[in-house]
Symmetry: C2
Subunit: 283 residues, 2 copies
């Protein structure tokens, strides 16, 4: 491993760069970002060594695409057009159908592997990059059969060294399930934050009343709006379905309370309570 190019030097790309630095201490890690400030910051923080260019990817061993998913579908075909024969391009976006479609007929399709590592924090930018973010996490790989076998091996070797758990999935199935497992949580948190802020905007010291429960539930509302707008746009149909069901469940719960059916309220919570067991084993 001699040269690595990270396109999008934020939380996701920067953290991956930090892990690659440890795995391949001799490799040169270059960064590409539409925000020149991010490049400066990433170099200063030692996340990357130098600035790269999207037109000079021929000698890269690995190119990692970690930019908002709407931009990724435009940039990926260009990236594939500029790489060498043995370059593997990984994308790490939170949606997979559109990115796979964007290069379905590209002559270099076999140099691309569509990934979604289930890892992140609510922070963003190069300063949010942390070592070990990916260690032990799940990595969902889509359309693995469309990636050249030797390049699959190269990528899987990296994921293995990071102790990642690999799951193979079709892009459409990925997007449908991830709408429930991740995208809905973000909307639920953003709207919880909005509801509370709207109500309490004139009484800011009321936030003294917030405990760790509120903080946990609303945490994802700190996430980057640019990143998440592009995800919501790309996974619109699946997310609308989850939102409809979530709202229906809230309406039902409200109806039980309104009719003083607190046995029903209890049963609703009791039925969901086994999420304890389901979640055991996550982190």
């Amino acid at each position: 491993m001699k040269k690595i190019q990270i396109i999008g030097v934020g939380l996701i790309g920067g953290s991956f760069a930090k892990d690659l630095r440890i795995l391949f201490p001799k490799a040169e890690i270059m960064g590409i970002d539409s925000n020149p400030g991010h490049i400066k910051e990433a170099i200063a923080l030692g996340v990357i060594d130098n600035e790269g260019s999207i037109t000079a990817l021929q000698d890269a061993d690995v190119v990692v695409l970690t930019i908002p998913v709407d931009v990724a579908t435009q940039v990926l075909p260009e990236v594939l057009g500029n790489i060498g024969a043995d370059t593997i391009v990984l994308d790490m976006g939170s949606t997979k159908a559109a990115i796979c479609a964007s290069v379905a007929t590209h002559p270099k399709r076999r140099n691309f592997m569509a990934c979604h590592p289930i890892a992140g924090t609510e922070f963003s930018g190069p300063s949010a990059a942390i070592e070990g973010l990916y260690t032990g996490k799940t990595n969902i790989i889509c359309e693995v059969e469309k990636t050249a076998f030797k390049l699959q091996e190269k990528a899987l070797e990296i994921f293995k060294k990071l102790d990642m758990r690999i799951r193979y999935m079709e892009p459409q199935a990925h997007d449908r399930h991830i709408a429930y497992m991740s995208h809905l949580s973000h909307i639920s948190a953003f709207m919880l934050g909005k509801t509370v802020i709207d109500k309490e905007k004139n009484e800011r010291d009321i936030f003294d009343m917030a405990g760790s429960g509120f903080e946990s539930t609303v945490r994802l509302a700190k996430s980057n709006p640019v990143t998440w707008t592009s995800i919501f746009a790309q996974n619109k149909e699946n997310i609308l379905e989850t939102l409809e069901e979530y709202i229906a469940n809230l309406e039902h719960f409200k109806g039980l309370m309104e009719s003083d059916n607190f046995e029903g309220v209890f049963q609703e919570m009791q039925d969901t309570n086994h999420i304890k067991e389901i979640l055991k084993g996550i982190n």
Copy 2:
């Protein structure tokens, strides 16, 4: 401090007992619980020393009431009827209007202090009790003027030793604000858990896709349904108001997505994003 009585030896009461044990190593800590198994478990764990009785509270220095809020309003008048002249009774429930009303005209009202420490975890029972749960947390005290001055001092001394931050509030204001800052988060988490479980019940390995974001947002759905049913019943009107606003915000967000107004979607998130700053300082 010679004798302490904890009524309800679960997460809240048990954790407080553990802290009192450190502050007053010579005091005898007794426990009362409707579940005999909890008493045995709490003694085995060293959370309490012996079983107490609700009819033998005369010589207690402090009585702490940490039982579901619907039972608390029935038990508190009886407790006040059985205490000595210098006993201070603290309740730690998550609603404050009903408990204050239940003893408004009680001859021993001045022996009672209505508290709500903003502390807890999603676990329950004596084994969930942890040392230091209250350290540095906010404690909301209602109708402080109705507690005898000397007994206020006794209680505040304990809270000071636990480094708690005291906020004084009227019970109605407490219940209105806490509906936003805590109760709504619980419903949002329970219904998120329900939505995802309902959808994915036939594909349990899909939960491999859950990351720390989902886990954080749904965490409160692990909470005790008995505790929370009683809170929702007692704070019904305030909670229904928060639920209405939360659902309206979700419907609005859904409408923006349906009409492909992703600038609007972005703005919604951008406007809520400063919750980062608001939450700074909450553990």
